[in-house]
Homo-oligomer: 139 residues x 6
Amino acid sequence: MIEYDAAPPEVRAVYDDIMATRGVDWINNFWKALAHDPATLARIWDQVKTVMAPGGALDPVVKEMVYVAVSATNGCDYCIASHTAAAKKAGMDDAMLGELMAVVGLANQTNALATGLRVPVDPPFEATAFGRRPAEPTK
Amino acid sequence: MIEYDAAPPEVRAVYDDIMATRGVDWINNFWKALAHDPATLARIWDQVKTVMAPGGALDPVVKEMVYVAVSATNGCDYCIASHTAAAKKAGMDDAMLGELMAVVGLANQTNALATGLRVPVDPPFEATAFGRRPAEPTK
Amino acid sequence: MIEYDAAPPEVRAVYDDIMATRGVDWINNFWKALAHDPATLARIWDQVKTVMAPGGALDPVVKEMVYVAVSATNGCDYCIASHTAAAKKAGMDDAMLGELMAVVGLANQTNALATGLRVPVDPPFEATAFGRRPAEPTK
Amino acid sequence: MIEYDAAPPEVRAVYDDIMATRGVDWINNFWKALAHDPATLARIWDQVKTVMAPGGALDPVVKEMVYVAVSATNGCDYCIASHTAAAKKAGMDDAMLGELMAVVGLANQTNALATGLRVPVDPPFEATAFGRRPAEPTK
Amino acid sequence: MIEYDAAPPEVRAVYDDIMATRGVDWINNFWKALAHDPATLARIWDQVKTVMAPGGALDPVVKEMVYVAVSATNGCDYCIASHTAAAKKAGMDDAMLGELMAVVGLANQTNALATGLRVPVDPPFEATAFGRRPAEPTK
Amino acid sequence: MIEYDAAPPEVRAVYDDIMATRGVDWINNFWKALAHDPATLARIWDQVKTVMAPGGALDPVVKEMVYVAVSATNGCDYCIASHTAAAKKAGMDDAMLGELMAVVGLANQTNALATGLRVPVDPPFEATAFGRRPAEPTK
């Protein structure tokens, strides 16, 4: 991992932008690990900065909770910890975390059931979700 | 899959509750596939009804979007279609779907990077997220 | 996919062994797809034949149900269908399938919860499971 | 994590039921981590108690081994340890564990092969597994 | 999915760049599906164009094979098909595909075994891989 | 885990072959954990020895990088560490590792997007990749 003081100028520029954007005075390990490949560091940071920025269609706390949901499903310990922390900073309280984990657990359960039983998609869902194949529901 | 007309009474009771709770007049395939095991049908429906109910700490559309995020990560086609449809019914517009998928894609990318580089969790994230091991950040 | 009649001798030998071992008179698509690489075909078949053979510590129907559980978790449609069929041939009835899927669904749910909440392993479990680190339980 | 002595009455009631049902005198970390959300704690415990209860179509040791198979596939360390321990208590010896892991490893291998080669499901498997689309096998 | 003729100018500009960069005269469905969110379309294409460009440290056919390996592991049918096609165009012959799938299958198998048995990382691997914790090997 | 000195003859024979094949004088933990089941130990080693051997269609460093890509996607810490170490020994330098991780991250991102949006496979990809269903591309 590359510390700030040992970083070349193009890495230091990304580190400075991370700290300025987030209003923090330290760099977390994820970026230090990526910094061996400055082009990837800059590209990933640019994406995170853009996608997670406030002012879009979703509230920042919702985006952080979605991030936690994906990370828990994939089993990425680093991302679970960093984005649970970020969600808490963005306003997620204990009741919200409890409901979030309840949905994540339930979704993983029904995903396995629907997949394991090879349930065919109902045409009305397909039509509503993706605008395809309108069809009559069967009761 | 067990259709309504062929269903035994305890299955029909669950089907009736699903339709009444959701205000629809048909049963989707997921429940028909589970109905071979009435105890599991009742138990899964009870969970879905409880966890996804309105009136909690999270807005229903947020819960449906989290469901989509998990289902996309797991690759459950049925669940992607049914919960994208549900999220749209609950108010997710195209801009929200676009941001949701942007976060889901990004989270899957950084999950793989943090895992593949075996990045150690920063103690401040651990402390904020789970109330463990407070520690000094290192710049 | 390579059909029997078009197969070179080393592929045909594997096909013959598959049919003889299983007491069937046709080759399923999985093997036909592998047959482009005869060495891999032979190696994978040798493993399947050995691991799934009757006479070991686990009953064949248990091994097929474990196969279904893994395949449902990974979302492999081909493997779900072929091993659900094999489990049924080996004696899995509808009640057993219902319980199997109930366990698979539940395990996927609690996996996501334990991972998402970063729950530390209790030392007594570690000791019982892997013979490591005996420790006092804390109530 | 919420310890027994610090738990509110509705959490303590679940803890007491867990200890009575399992015949143990301590609470493992999974439940202590869930206890921040007493409704989820009660709901998950109710499911575990029901699904994993003895007296069903599957032997308890089979259910625990299926749990281990799913947990190993998902990479949930906590669940691997806790359910390997539970399987051992339920009668899984070293030979059974060895065969279990051999099946789990093999299933993960062939899952990736069938998925990666996009092998189409043979109609006879579909028909046997799910009662759909009977079709002639092709040799 | 948004077809070329119906696309707004900023989408058409990305479509044109995709066709020019790849030397093809049609747009594949992935980009048409992303085009509902032009900002995400542009951001993802920019990444693909940069990461998969020739002239880096890895040969283009190696990068496409790595893409196939990840997609087979995740079970993304679209990505398996599109990147197997791309790998073949970049020079992957049948022998290379056979070996690729053999490695992918084997890795998925040993991943499940190492995870399921909770094998601790040997310090020499850690040191060689990530420059951490040099330690004496134990025979 | 079974150390060399405590190993029965059939385990010791595998250990000796591992050390001779790899030119090392110690056994890593993966094999020691498998050694409780000598038949599985021998079968897995035989596969690794065969599949990862030099002299095939793919360069050894490419095979090790594919192994890392799969292991990062599955989140197998042991396999990430051992195969990143092996890839470095086989010639992977920092620039190659940087590009490898960039492809792995990108593939995980676009996998989630293509799956989450349920993008249908373009017939020309299908035809090029698997020799099926040739069809006209649509611009």
